[in-house]
Amino acid sequence: MALTTAEILNIAKLARLHVEESELVDYQQDLSAILGFVEQMEQVNVDGVEPMAHPQDMSQSLREDVVTESDQRERFQSIAPATANGLYLVPKVIE
């Protein structure tokens, strides 16, 4: 399993990570090695096996749709990098 540099760049884009040109070869080696390692999963026949997402196979518990938390916007926004008028600030998205 050898990934191309184009594939690495595509994965980085999906993961919202910036990869420097100088890091590409390391990522290529490391990720290819990890994917090569997990290929041993092909040794076993899994036909008809139900995938297991959760250890107890529980169903999601539900609760009444009522407000349980108080508004703590100011407290939570006090740790944000940039806010104004109760809103989170990000770079301009639409010109």
Partner: protein, 482 residues
């Protein structure tokens, strides 16, 4: 004072032999003396600890379970008003605005928090070398790793810098460092302890649990932290057993299985000998030992390194430089804000796992990786269920080797992953597991793992306790930290 177990300290506090303030100050002094050599803590909170100790000393009636006992918490548990970094530059500026349920429950139990312990960044690692705050050292040999990811919590107990501590275990992150540091560590059943406020790595595998000198000490912490929590939808609504009260119950007749797959090549011969000797001890205590098989166990690491990265890539998408945590300087647009904040603040292993997970979940590859890994997860879980039809407990070494050297495996992710070969299947199946010290190999501690069926932590604690009543491996302390 620090040479007493937590259980003995509770008796001494009750008898007035010393106060919680005295005990807490004693640990504060020890942490100050040893922080430079061990780097076990990221955030040390002595003033807060002394205030909590004072309050504990003032309680005259109805003393809660852990009243006045100083603990250390892995820096993955959100603690209101205290930096909670998960050992990442991403959260270096994060002062948690709320408490994890584990933190709340320990406070209600009267415990004192000495601070937040060092770990692998976002709990991804087996050596506690990937922390933004520098690596953690093993008190038995400062040139070696303490294991990971909960290395700081294990070291805090091993070097007697706290009465006990809490960690988390996603693939062995409590049991492996407990083994490397010569202490007792328990990973409860998935869903036994609330994950609310515990920074998520792989949500279907993560579970919090205690480190202690003894199994009884771990029983105290489990007693205080276990239970259903409406704030964690995966916590299980099942009664909590009386772990401390029932720990002396008889273990005669319990059936213990040795999986043949865990005693093959790759296992250090000296570790094998220590496990054999521990099995002889358990036979003397009336347990029945027999061989069993876990035929799919060999695939556990491969399945884990698809499932855990997949869940991690999803969980860590919350770190976007917008609401909390690190933000890059002068982002040119939103995409730049996301990708540069994340790339500048995540370390190499975290980025590797996010990338592997993003790939495994991407269109066209989902079936070959994630779905297949989940099917293998089922096979591994069924192997354990078949074993539990024949035996009460599955026993093996915790690790194939003793603590390895710092920097020995840091450049080779797969070799690092293999150090979790005996522990990782337990997380995939969601079972409880314990590691206890059973001797030394070339002056380094050897750990033995026992695993039992869902919600039978009491069985593991009873066997470990009986073993520790007849051995003193768990009471050995590293020479420089006596």
């Amino acid at each position: 004072m620090h040479n007493l177990t937590l259980a003995q300290q509770l008796q001494a506090l009750a008898a007035g032999e010393f106060s919680s303030v005295e005990l807490t100050q004693h640990y504060i002094n020890r942490i100050e003396s040893h922080q430079d050599s061990l780097n076990a803590f990221i955030t040390f909170t002595p003033e807060r600890a002394l205030e909590e100790a004072q309050r504990a000393d003032q309680r005259s009636t109805d003393k809660p379970l852990l009243n006045g006992i100083p603990l250390a918490l892995k820096d993955i548990f959100c603690t209101q008003g205290v930096k909670t970094s998960c050992a990442s530059k991403m959260l270096d500026n994060f002062i948690a605005p709320y408490d994890a349920t584990v933190v709340t429950k320990l406070q209600q139990a009267g415990a004192v928090s000495l601070g937040k312990t060092n770990m692998d960044e976002f709990a991804m690692g087996s050596s506690s070398e990937s922390s933004y705050y520098g690596d953690v050292k093993n008190p038995w040999d400062l040139s070696r790793v303490p294991g990971g990811s909960s290395g700081g919590s294990a070291v805090a107990v091993s070097a007697r810098l706290a009465s006990a501590s809490m960690g988390t275990d996603t693939g062995g992150s409590i049991r492996q460092p407990a083994a490397f540091c010569g202490i007792t560590g328990l990973k409860p059943t998935y869903g036994r302890v609330s994950r609310y406020g515990m920074i998520a790595y792989a949500s279907s595998l993560d579970q919090a649990g205690p480190f202690g000198v003894s199994a009884l000490d771990c029983a105290y912490l489990l007693q205080a932290t276990a239970g259903h929590d409406a704030k964690d939808s995966t916590s299980v609504d099942q009664p909590v057993d009386e772990y401390t009260a029932n720990i002396n119950e008889d273990i005669r007749g319990l059936r213990i299985g040795l999986p043949e797959e865990f005693f093959q090549e790759g296992l250090d011969a000296d570790i094998r000998a220590k496990i054999d000797a521990a099995c002889d001890q358990l036979r003397e205590l009336g347990c029945v030992i027999k061989p069993i098989s876990l035929p799919n166990a060999k695939l556990a690491i491969a399945a884990y390194y698809v499932i855990a990265p997949a869940e991690c890539s999803s969980n860590l998408s919350r770190f976007d430089g917008v609401r909390f945590g690190y933000r890059c300087e002068d982002p040119v647009d939103l995409a730049d804000l996301y990708s540069r904040s994340r790339s500048e603040a995540f370390g190499p292993e975290v980025k590797r796992r996010i990338m592997v997970g993003a790939y495994a979940l991407s269109a066209g590859y989902y079936d070959a990786y994630y779905l297949r890994a989940q099917k293998i997860r089922r096979l591994i879980s069924e192997d354990y269920q078949k074993a539990f039809a024949e035996v009460d407990v599955v026993l093996s070494p915790t690790t194939p080797t003793t603590a390895f050297k710092t920097n020995e495996k840091v450049d080779d992710p797969i070799t690092m992953y293999l150090s979790d070969i005996y522990t990782i299947g337990v997380n995939l199946a969601g079972l409880p597991g314990i590691s206890i010290p059973v001797g030394f190999s070339q002056k380094l501690p050897v750990g033995m793992q026992m695993v039992s069926t869902y919600f039978s932590e009491d069985t593991l604690l009873r066997i470990a306790h009986q073993f520790q009543q007849h051995t003193d491996w768990h009471l050995q302390t590293p020479a420089e930290f006596e």
